[in-house]
Amino acid sequence: MTILSSGPTTSLVPAAPVAPVAPEGELVTFTVDGIETAVPKGTLVIRAAEQLGIQIPRFCDHPLLAPAGACRQCLVEVWAPGRDGALAKMPKPQASCTLEATPGMQVKTQHTSPEADKAQHGVMELLLINHPLDCPVCDKGGECPLQNQAMSNGRASTRFVDVKRTFPKPIAISTQILLDRERCILCQRCTRFSEEIAGDVFIDLQKRGANQQIGTFDTNVLGFAGEAPLGASAEDTSGRPFASYFSGNTVQICPVGALTSAAYRFRSRPFDLVSTPGIGEHDSQGSAIRIDHRRGVVLRRLAGEDPTVNQEWITDKDRFAFTWQSAPDRITTPLVRNADGELEPASWVEALDVAAAGLRAAQQPDDPRDTAIGVAVLPGGRLTLEDAYAYGKFARVALGTNDVDGRARPHSAEEETFLGHHVAGRTLQVTFADLDRAPAVLLVGLEAEEEAGIAFLRLRDSVVSRKLRVLSVAALASRGLERLSGTLLPAAPGTEAEVLDGIGTDPALAETATLLGTAGALVLVGERLAGVSGGFSAAVRLAQRTGARLAWVPRRVGERSAVEAGLLPSLLPGGRPVADSAARVDLAAAWGVDHLPAEPGRSTTEILAAARAGQLGGLVVGGLELADLPDPAIAREALDRATFVVSLEVRHSEVTDRADVVLPVAPPTEKPGTFVTWEGRPRPFPQALVSHSMADHRVLDRLADALGVELGLQTIGAVHDELDQLGGWDGTRVGAPDVPAAEPPAVSPGTAVLATWHQLLDGGRLQSGEPFLAGTAKRPVARISAGTATAVGVEDGGSLTVSTDAGSLTLPAVVTEMPDHVVWLPTNAVGAGVRDALHADAGHLVRLAPGARDLEASA
């Protein structure tokens, strides 16, 4: 079930174009069970049989993994024409999952061939010899291919009388993934997934014959280096403790219960789960997921199947991080701050009245000398399209201001121009399918594995199968880039624009220029480029110069919908510039208001600075984490100083602590909505759980109502109707950004330029309440070059203190190949938030010093 608006999709974010049908290659005609069929050359017999509706039992076969023929369950009888053209029977049954159809072949499955049926029964009996009879305690029981196919293609009773092979169980591969070896049937789906898809091999086949088993890598044989997970874990092939962002997929594709997740272990049975399709809320990839819940409690999430977006894979964050939505600190009723300064529960009517009165007073203070005038809106970056649209309309219609900015991260005016020029209203110009087809992809300010997990998998698939060249402009080659076989174009933070401008002129970057000049080449820029002055301008110039197509890949789920819905101070919905009077008139007519505010609003930083300076009366704040903002300290002061703060939140936060009225809103499982991927693809999802919580757009509609303004956004259908009616914008657009590259800061001895990006699993609040997942996060380290380490006097593995005037962080130092005078830190690792501790960001100068020996003492 999917929730759709009255039309199939909104015109703001048009539907994906129909995928071009692959040109039919040479067809092969052969028969399965006497039914003649024609399939493209190279098709496996098991696929052709599937298309005919003929079921062949299988375990190791997976459409997205290379054929292995490991389990032998899919044996069929095959007759093929010999050299003399006469049909001859192959002497033994063949595995249909590795057998390509050839002309004239006659395949007889277990349905028509007693021989194939007997062979399959024999294989099943062999597989079950050592398989324990612990189905009642096994998590897979009830949805187990082995159970099902043992019933359909196996013997009713066992002839095995000896003692079954047993292993100590379970092995914890990481804090999340558990391995029960005795249940394993050696199909190798897990090992093939981690080798072919994710590229982080951590388990493999070991030993021979009856002793063969899936095992972990031996600690004693392999060395130790690099990124380690927080929790206890096994080692991967490189000898590093296993920290994979995609390991949950192995649990899902395991055809038996050999791999299970600690979070779901023994929690439930498939028959008491209700499944609802959903969309991952953790990144801008828009992964299709399946939410399994029982009695109003979400118990697990699985990868949904969507070939255009996430195929059948999702990140562990999308899979396991869902407990935040039902955390104990959920806000259940509206809260109003009383005379004692305490928040106390209130009715919706009372809270909305107090909020409306406060906002009205902030807009027009009683005291004419009061400088704190006006209300600004900070909606946060995790909104659905509908909610983002409601925030924008609320700010412009109910509050009469353009002071609305959805960017809860470092941002710049140049970025705003870039978004208006290149991103807003231009949906599906670069898609996941383009990643598959591109000959070369340049990543700028984007660490694909950490910030765009599904794009990383699609890129890696392309690298492995089609020799895609990946290039990255970054301070250092991360392990993710290594797994993409990527080429690093080293750039100290702040000098990315220089490097981009050098492509085509610098002889050292001649190869890059050639690659980007080939048809279909892509440049993917991340949101972090906003921190580089001139970065977006250089990226646009590069795209124009080389002909490569440019796409913006933000990290958070709501970034693209915020741009499309006009949550920028100078941008209205659909890419309409605020400065363009025609665009304002067009929108005012659609909204049924006389006029819209003409002067461009203030950005997040400017809004917070104004509030801190006492020049802003009120703030309406959505799902915003203050620690994500460029300077959390200023944000805290600003919220403390603002006269009146209304917070729309799911859980208690730093914002609700400072708010005068808190209005509870629904998390994604409790409301229908539409997330928008970085491509601009709408990803509608239905409501999974029955809930009384209201979505943001409905709360804003009621708040506007209390202010005496009718927004008309009470239901999701009303929002969709309005979006459909509004449509896109074909008038003039914002001009291209043209900001000169800034000079990189001068580095004096003892200081370095900070490089930083978010890791997928970190201290973010959307991951709280899930200790098993937190254990698989990478251990925070500080990375410096060998030269810098010598200059500072820190050894590899020693502790390094990075400080600014605001504070310091001490982390283990890891010497990495990277430019000198640069230090890399994870942005928001647990207990080591860079923005919070240092008030600094990428490109800023920090001081380096050897850390105290005892890390515990300094922390």
Binding site: P136, V137, G141, G142, K169, R265, F266, R267, S268, R269, F271, D272
Partner: protein
């Protein structure tokens, strides 16, 4: 298809039996033809039978006055049921006191009335409630729904769930008819130690299933002494009577049934 069916059966042409009106059986798709008038199916009797027919019924009464009475004096006298009577359920224990239930939910799966709700959980070294890795943390049977068909006990892989012969199930509230795990657990017997405690040293869950464990061991008693010194099931503890306190719902139901029994007694 239709032409295949046509010549299969000959039309019944034989005469109907004496005194009986047998309508020819209509073929599929046909409607029986209406009969001429009413003809009784009861054979006509002789004149003597017709004469005594009005008082013949008294004979049944008279003959039963000389037969033994079958009235049960319930609840004054409680008659035992047959041994395999399907009464209320019980969650059994192993001989050392560990629970047999592994929380597999097969009983809930088998239940045609959706009367059983189970949630499984991990056994941990500090909280080992059943042998092996998994135990039932929530176990509810709704006796408003249960139809006592016994499919649940047939589904149970460990014989954890069985049915007793207890049939007096009554309660004043709907909530009072939903039995929780503590209500359903079998009472502890001598040699058993109250769970949680570790499995018998050196055994696996398979040994438990095979009945190799016959009583709790001193090591288990030592563990319980360390963690719950006041446990009544320990040697020298308060004893089994103190340990076997019925669950809240079971206690309320027992009181209700006892009161009703008292009221019903003569």
């Amino acid at each position: 298809m239709a032409d295949q069916r046509k010549p299969v059966r000959k039309p019944a042409s034989a005469q109907p039996a004496k005194g009986k009106a047998v309508a020819p059986k209509p073929r599929a798709g046909e409607v029986a033809a209406p009969q001429e008038g009413y003809q009784s199916l009861i054979e006509p009797r002789g004149p003597l039978s017709d004469l005594f027919a009005p008082v013949g019924g008294f004979g049944v009464t008279l003959s039963n006055m000389f037969r033994p009475t079958v009235t049960d004096q319930y609840p004054s006298e409680k008659a035992p049921t047959k041994p395999r009577y399907h009464g209320r359920h019980q969650l059994n224990r192993y001989a050392d006191g560990l629970e047999k239930c592994i929380g597999c939910e097969l009983c809930a799966w088998a239940c045609p009335a959706d009367a059983i709700y189970v949630e499984g959980a991990d056994n941990t070294p500090d909280n080992q409630r059943s042998p092996g890795e998994r135990y039932g943390s929530v176990y509810q049977i709704n006796y408003l729904r249960c139809i006592f068909c016994g499919l649940c006990i047939e589904a149970c892989p460990t014989r954890a769930l069985t049915m007793t012969n207890e049939y007096e199930l009554a309660g004043p509230t709907r909530a009072g008819m939903i039995w929780e795990k503590q209500d359903l657990l079998a009472p502890l017997r001598s040699g058993m130690l109250q769970a949680p405690h570790p499995m018998v040293e050196g055994t696996t869950d398979t040994d438990y299933y095979r009945g190799a464990v016959t009583a709790s061991t001193p090591a288990q008693a030592a563990w319980v002494t360390e963690h719950r010194p006041d446990d009544p099931t320990l040697p020298g503890g308060a004893g089994l009577d103190a340990a076997n306190v019925p669950g809240e719902t079971a206690a309320v139901m027992a009181a209700t049934v006892a009161a009703a029994t008292k009221q019903g007694k003569r």
